[in-house]
């Protein structure tokens, strides 16, 4: 397990639905913002990974919507890499509203490294070694 520092997202006007709630689909978008920050923090910007001929695509996502977020909330997105294999990588997420520490959403996404032809490929050695070295 490798937990990164939280990403902070402020809920935009466009992210909220007519009930005044953070529209549920956006949580999955916030997962990506947090995951992207985690990858930058732990390894390097995802852009460089793509420029090196890899992509990390989502193959599964599970989301539990626990309490509604609202417009202008500041949300802490906590991302943890929880498992990895040859080409797979699993992250877990906890989204908490900062003002009252209310847990809004939990989730888990599974990813796979692919190469430029779109086929699954082994993750770069450098990244796996980093994962294995820092795991606890």
């Amino acid at each position: 397990m490798i937990a990164g520092p939280p990403s902070i997202i402020r809920v935009r006007y466009s992210d909220v639905d007519r009930m005044g709630f953070l529209y549920h689909v956006n949580y999955l978008e916030y997962f990506e913002v947090g995951r992207s920050d985690w990858i930058r923090w732990f390894w390097k910007p995802y852009l460089e990974i793509e420029n090196a001929g890899f992509a990390i695509v989502a193959i599964e996502a599970n989301i539990k919507f626990i309490s509604p977020g609202g417009y202008d909330d500041q949300i802490s997105v906590d991302v943890t890499a929880v498992e990895w294999g040859k080409s797979r990588l699993i992250f877990e997420y906890r989204l908490t509203r900062i003002s009252d520490q209310k847990l809004l959403c939990e989730g888990r996404t599974t990813h796979c490294f692919i190469d430029t032809t779109g086929k699954p490929t082994k993750m770069p050695d450098e990244f796996r070694e980093l994962l294995n070295h820092h795991s606890h």
Copy 2:
């Protein structure tokens, strides 16, 4: 199980990412388009449900991303109500590209009826009777 007629969605330019793939978050958005059509077909427009003081909020979502969609694809969204209880309702989804019948994505979402105070509430009797009557 109550399967509705498919909804057809054409993938918009904005829905595709820099890999040329339908961005994964949008599948969850397409689920809602299909579910909304299912509710309209089976019962009545969701707008009328909200106007009557109810909302049907998502409490869980599971998505399997199987094969990438692309720009301008026409996608068939098949929605089936698979389970329901006093206030809960579970849907399953299959998204298929029409041109080659390729399965792109499968998913499942769990929903709960809430009232105008945001509290869980029993689904309207009329709707439950309709569900029980048409289930097979």
Copy 3:
């Protein structure tokens, strides 16, 4: 001026803001859906244009928000090509709610053909001839 057949868009739940209004940014998105249909109808799918090494990028947009749309509204998007030059192409839009024929939004976008290097380029002869031939 070359007016195409209307595109019909149903306003999605995610497209509406906490006032219950169609969020203003989405009108620009609806312009693209209509423009994309116009191009398909008048010439060929935009995907084929990109596959042939061209892109048609937006360089300017003007939007007048006249009356608010709402969730589940069916909106008619009327698109007219109004002017064109060597590489430029200007469209105008009228968005009308179908149920009451209320005009919601008017707009105008200016586009430029670019090649695969991102540089402005002349529009394909075939397309310009088609434009000049059908203009009235």
Copy 4:
């Protein structure tokens, strides 16, 4: 003219299209993020304005797309209130990529205060006085 401090937005993966460019519609969304920060900085959070029974709706938008942004760019959104009347308020925007100071987009939006019935209304005295007092 009242220029606020810049808002910084990092371009999300979902904001980029298949050309690898920041999708043009998102600039209008970034305008709102910057405008919302401007209002918070100059007056108070927009949420409080809505809670007090007002809304500030867009009635016109003009956008010039000058140079394409890309994934992971950090963009500075500079917002200036340039004109105001009894109920109207006009903002101008400049979006610049931080890494190379390249100007990506310029725009202008016109807004109108409305009350809870959706009718145009005078802006709150407190806000107009603040505008007149700080203008130069």
